[in-house]
C-alpha cells in the first residue's frame, strides 16, 4: 500500500475550475492520511508544473502520484515521463479524468460536478494505493522479417526492410509477384503500366541479397511470438525441372494441348496448362497445372526432360522477429442476377473491363460486338445499408473515372454513362472527375432506395435510372456494355491468416488495427503488423504508405536486438490454480498453456504473447487470474472511492465567470502558448488574425487561449478594427 501519495488537481485554465471547485478539493485531499502533497495547479501539463512535480516527488519521497486533469488519451505519457524523470516507477501513477468526464459534461451542474470530481479523485487515490512497480518485459528479437503477400505493398516494404539491414522473407501465394496491380494496364495518377511497376520493384528486390522470395507459397503453421516467430511455409511445385533449358520450356508452353481457366484474366479467356500470368510475369519461370495435364500422356512424354509432374511440395521453416501482413483484397463478385450479372450477356465488372481493354488494343470488342457505349453502375457491393459491405471502397470512383478517360483516349468514339450515388474522387483525383465531365461523360445520380435496373429489350440492353439531379426523372440508357463498379472485399483466405497469426478481424472482415489514428498498422499481436488493402479498401499510394509505415515500425522494433514490451499482462497465482483450462480456451492468442508448477499442473502465461486484454480473468472459477493495473483490489477500491460522500460547499452556478488578477491565479509562469501569443502581439493592440500571422499558431488555438487569457486578465479587449470584423486585444 502506498503511503506517500502526491495529488495534483488541474484548473486547465478554467476548463475544469469554472465548474469544479478544484481549490477546495486540493485542500480536502490534503487532509487524507496517505496523501503527502495535494495541490491545485493552473496547467498540470505546463513545463513549470512538471518541474515542480519532479521536485515534489524527490523532496517528499512520494511513492505514487495522481494527476486529475484531462483524458488519459492526452497526457498519460506526459505524466508517466514526469514520474520516470523523478525516479518513480511510472506504474505508480494514475490519471483521473475530471475534464472530459466531469467538468465538461456536467458544466450545467457545477456543485454536483465537484462532488463527482471528489469521488473520481478519491477512486484514483485508492487505485494508486494498490499500484505495484512494474518493469517492462525485455525480449530478444531476431533481425528478420516475414512479409506475406508480394503485391505492390509487400514488395515496397520488403525493399525498405532489406535496405535497413533486416533479413527479409517475402512469400507470395501466387506463382508470380505483383498482385492486383499487374492486372491494371494503367494506374492513376501517373498512368504508369502496372506490369512495369511490378518489374521495376522485382528488379529492385533482386539487388538485395538479404531478400528471399518464395512464390506459390502459403503459411501452414505459426508458433512462437514477438522476436522469434517460427513459421512453416509450404512451397508448391512448378513441375518444371530445374535442369530444363528456357527454350524447351517455351516450346512446351507453345505446344501444350490443354487449356484451363485463366484466373489472371478473370476467366474472360482460357490459357494453356503451362502458363505465365502474362509474358513478362516474374519470376521468369512458367508454371504447370499438373492436374490438367494428367491425361495428356503424349505431350508429357514428349517433354519428359522438361516437366516433372511428380515434383512434390516442400515445407520450409522460417524464423522471423516480426511479421508484416500485406495479403491484399478480393474484388467483390456480384451475385448471379445482380444487375443482370451472368444472366444478361453484356454485363461485366470493372476489373473485367480493365482486362478487356488490355486484350483489345484497337477496338473494344466483347463477345464479338464492338462496344460504343458503356454504362457504369457505381457502388456495386459497397455502401450496402442492408448488405454485408457497409463501407465505401474508396478507390472505385477514381478507378472508374480513370478507366473512362482511358476508354476515350484509346478508342476515341465512345460514350460513357455514369450512374453513381456520390462521387468520391477525393484529393487530387477530383481533377480527373473534372476532366471526365469535360470530355462529355454523362453522370446520373441514383439513391440506394431506387437502384438502377438492367433489362433486355430485344437486342438492346437498357439501364433504367431515376436521376436525382433532374427531379428523379426516369432515364433509359441503351448501353453496349454495362459495367458494375465493384468494390474491394476481404480476401477469402483472410480467415486462415487471421487464425494462424491470431489477427483480429473487423466487422467488415478486413484485418483490424489497434487504433485507426494512433496505431494504424499495429495489431494487438505483438510483432505482427498489417499494411495495404488487407486492412481495408485503399488505393495504391495509400497501400504503399501503410506498408512502409509497417516496415518502419518493424525496423525500429528489431533494430537493437532486444525489445521492451508493456508489462500490463495477466498473471496467475500458481499456488491456487487448479488447472481447468477455461482460461486457455478463451484466449485467442494462445498465451496461456498448461505448465508444471512443482508437481502440479497450472496455467502459465507467455509474457511475450499476452496482450493484457483480460478475457481470461472472469472465466477462472478460482479467481486466481489478475491483470496488472486492473486487479480486484484496484477496481474494487475505485468503486469504494466513487461511493464516498463528500461535503462540498457551493461554488456558484458556473454562469458567473470570476476574473482573477494575474497574481491570484497562482502561475509562476504563463503556459508556452500564452507566451507565444504575447510575443506575437507586436503592436500596441492586435487582432486575432494578426496574432495568428505573427505566431504561426492555428487560429482556433489562438482564439481559445486568448479568451482564457482575457478571463484571467492577462489581455483585455481594446475596441474593434475599422471594418468592425475583429476585436483588438492588448496586454493588460
Amino acid at each position: 500500500m502506498k503511503q506517500r501519495i502526491g495529488v495534483y488537481i488541474c484548473h486547465c485554465g478554467g476548463n475544469i475550475s469554472d465548474y469544479v471547485d478544484v481549490e477546495e478539493l486540493g485542500k480536502m485531499f490534503h487532509q487524507e492520511e496517505n496523501v503527502v502533497v495535494s495541490k491545485d495547479v493552473m496547467f498540470a501539463c505546463a513545463d513549470s508544473n512538471q518541474k515542480d512535480m519532479v521536485a515534489d516527488i524527490q523532496a517528499n519521497k512520494l511513492d505514487a502520484i495522481v494527476v486529475c486533469s484531462c483524458s488519459p488519451k492526452l497526457h498519460l505519457h506526459t505524466f508517466k515521463n514526469v514520474a520516470a524523470r523523478a525516479g518513480l516507477n511510472p506504474s505508480n501513477y494514475v490519471q483521473v479524468n475530471i475534464r472530459e468526464q466531469c467538468s465538461w459534461p456536467h458544466s450545467d451542474r457545477p456543485r454536483e460536478a465537484t462532488v463527482k470530481a471528489a469521488g473520481l479523485i478519491r477512486a484514483g487515490i485508492n487505485r494508486v494505493s494498490y499500484s505495484e512497480s512494474l518493469e517492462n518485459i525485455e525480449l530478444t528479437v531476431k533481425k528478420s522479417a516475414l512479409v506475406i503477400g508480394a503485391g505492390v505493398s509487400g514488395m515496397k516494404a520488403a525493399i525498405d526492410l532489406a535496405r535497413s539491414g533486416n533479413e527479409v522473407f517475402l512469400i507470395e501465394k501466387d506463382f508470380f509477384v505483383g498482385g492486383r496491380i499487374a492486372q491494371k494496364q494503367t494506374l492513376f495518377p501517373t498512368n504508369q503500366n502496372g506490369k512495369e511497376v511490378v518489374t521495376f520493384l522485382y528488379n529492385e528486390m533482386k539487388k538485395f541479397p538479404n531478400i528471399t522470395i518464395f512464390t506459390g507459397a502459403t503459411v501452414e503453421k505459426v508458433s512462437g511470438s514477438l522476436g522469434n516467430f517460427s513459421v512453416d511455409i509450404k512451397v508448391k511445385p512448378r513441375y518444371i525441372k530445374p535442369s530444363a533449358d528456357k527454350r524447351s520450356v517455351e516450346r512446351a508452353m507453345g505446344e501444350c494441348p490443354v487449356t484451363i481457366h485463366d484466373d489472371f484474366n478473370l476467366g474472360l479467356v482460357e490459357r494453356k496448362a503451362i502458363y505465365k500470368n502474362y509474358p513478362e510475369a516474374l519470376p521468369d519461370v512458367p508454371v504447370v497445372d499438373a492436374e490438367a495435364l494428367k491425361d495428356a500422356h503424349d505431350f508429357t512424354s514428349k517433354f519428359a526432360s522438361t516437366l516433372n509432374l511428380n515434383e512434390e511440395a516442400q515445407t520450409l521453416s522460417l524464423i522471423a522477429g516480426s511479421v508484416l501482413v500485406t495479403t491484399g483484397y478480393d474484388h467483390y463478385q456480384p451475385k448471379e442476377g445482380e444487375y443482370g450479372y451472368k444472366t444478361i450477356s453484356n454485363v461485366v465488372t470493372l476489373p473485367e473491363l480493365n482486362r478487356l481493354m488490355e486484350m483489345n488494343p484497337e477496338k473494344l470488342v466483347y463477345k464479338g460486338k464492338q462496344i460504343k457505349s458503356l454504362a457504369f453502375i457505381y457502388c456495386v457491393g459497397s455502401r450496402q445499408t442492408k448488405g454485408d459491405n457497409k463501407y465505401c471502397s474508396r478507390q472505385c470512383c477514381t478507378s472508374t473515372i480513370h478507366t473512362s478517360l482511358q476508354l476515350k483516349e484509346k478508342y476515341k468514339d465512345i460514350q460513357t454513362y455514369h450512374l453513381y450515388r456520390d462521387i468520391r474522387t477525393y484529393g487530387k483525383q477530383e481533377l480527373m472527375y473534372a476532366e471526365s465531365s469535360k470530355q462529355g461523360d454523362l453522370y446520373f445520380k441514383y439513391e440506394e432506395k431506387e437502384m438502377p435496373v438492367v433489362s433486355v429489350d430485344g437486342k438492346s440492353t437498357i439501364v433504367k435510372v431515376k436521376d436525382y439531379l433532374t427531379a428523379k426523372k426516369e432515364m433509359e440508357i441503351e448501353a453496349d456494355l454495362v459495367v458494375l463498379v465493384t468494390g474491394m472485399v476481404a480476401r477469402e483466405d483472410a480467415t486462415t491468416i487471421s487464425e494462424l497469426f491470431k489477427i483480429p478481424i473487423g466487422r467488415d472482415k478486413f484485418f483490424n488495427e489497434i487504433h485507426p489514428k494512433l496505431k494504424p498498422v499495429e495489431t494487438v499481436i505483438k510483432g505482427v503488423y498489417i499494411g495495404g488493402t488487407c486492412q481495408g479498401p485503399k488505393n495504391v499510394s495509400e497501400s504503399v504508405q501503410s506498408s512502409l509505415a509497417g516496415a518502419s515500425k518493424i525496423t525500429a522494433l528489431l533494430k537493437s536486438g532486444t525489445v521492451s514490451v508493456d508489462p500490463i499482462i495477466a498473471s496467475v497465482d500458481a499456488n491456487k490454480c487448479t488447472w481447468c483450462g477455461k482460461c486457455s480456451d478463451v484466449c485467442d492468442f494462445t498465451a496461456i498453456k498448461e505448465v508444471l508448477f512443482g508437481e502440479k499442473h497450472v496455467a502459465g502465461v507467455n509474457k511475450a504473447v499476452c496482450t493484457g486484454c483480460g478475457i481470461c480473468a472472469p472465466v477462472c472459477p478460482e479467481n486466481v487470474i489478475e491483470i496488472a493495473q486492473y486487479t480486484d483490489n484496484e477496481i474494487e477500491s475505485m468503486i469504494d472511492g466513487f461511493m464516498m460522500d463528500f461535503d462540498i460547499k457551493e461554488k456558484g452556478t458556473g454562469e458567473v465567470v470570476e476574473v482573477e488578477e494575474e497574481g491570484k491565479v497562482g502561475m509562476k509562469e504563463y503556459p508556452l502558448v500564452w507566451r507565444e501569443i504575447l510575443a506575437g502581439m507586436t503592436a500596441e493592440k492586435n487582432t486575432i488574425p494578426e496574432i495568428v500571422a505573427n505566431t504561426k499558431l492555428a487560429g482556433e488555438l489562438v482564439t481559445f487561449h486568448l479568451m482564457t487569457m482575457n478571463r484571467y486578465g492577462v489581455v483585455v479587449p481594446a475596441g474593434m478594427d475599422a471594418k468592425e470584423t475583429y476585436y483588438y486585444y492588448k496586454r493588460k
Partner: protein, 139 residues
C-alpha cells in the same frame, strides 16, 4: 484508508457505474464531454482494456456498495482483441445476473450495450434511459 465526511450530496439520480474500454467506448464518452452533451453526474466510469475482462464479482461489489446499476459499454464487433468479444461479455452479464438473483438484486441492474468510439449522443441517451429504468425499479 480514511473515509471523508459523510454527507449525502443533493443528487437524486441513480448512481450508475459504467465499465468502458480504453480504445473503443472511452473516446465516445470523452467526446460527449468535449461536446458538452450533458448526462447525470451520478455516472462514474472505470476504463478497462476489453469489456470481456470484467469480473462478475466487480459488478456485485458495485451493486452491494451503493451503485444502483452497472452499465457495460461492450466492444462488440469492434473489439481488437477477440471476434467473440460480444459473446464473452454476454456470458459475464449472464453470470452476474445469476449471482445477483442469489442476493435478491434485480437482474435489470446490470445492462450491456455496444458503444463505439464516436458514440457521444448514444452514450448520453443510454445513461438517460437506464437512469429512468433504474429509478423505476423496486427490486
Amino acid at each position: 484508508m480514511s473515509t471523508t465526511i459523510n454527507q449525502s450530496p443533493a443528487t437524486k439520480s441513480p448512481k450508475i457505474l459504467v465499465f468502458s474500454t480504453d480504445k473503443i467506448s472511452d473516446p465516445g464518452i470523452d467526446q460527449a464531454g468535449l461536446r458538452k452533451i450533458h448526462y447525470a453526474p451520478s455516472v462514474y466510469v472505470i476504463s478497462l482494456p476489453c469489456s470481456s475482462g470484467i469480473k462478475p464479482k466487480w459488478i456485485l461489489h458495485a451493486l452491494e456498495h451503493g451503485f444502483d446499476g452497472v452499465f457495460i459499454a461492450a466492444d462488440g464487433h469492434e473489439c481488437s482483441y477477440s471476434s467473440r468479444c460480444a459473446e464473452h461479455t454476454n456470458t459475464i452479464v449472464e453470470t452476474s445476473q445469476v449471482l445477483m438473483k442469489e442476493k435478491n438484486i434485480n437482474p435489470r441492474r446490470v445492462r450491456m450495450a455496444a458503444l463505439c468510439s464516436v458514440c457521444a449522443e448514444p452514450f448520453a441517451s443510454h445513461m438517460e434511459n437506464y437512469g429512468k429504468i433504474l429509478a423505476s425499479l423496486e427490486d
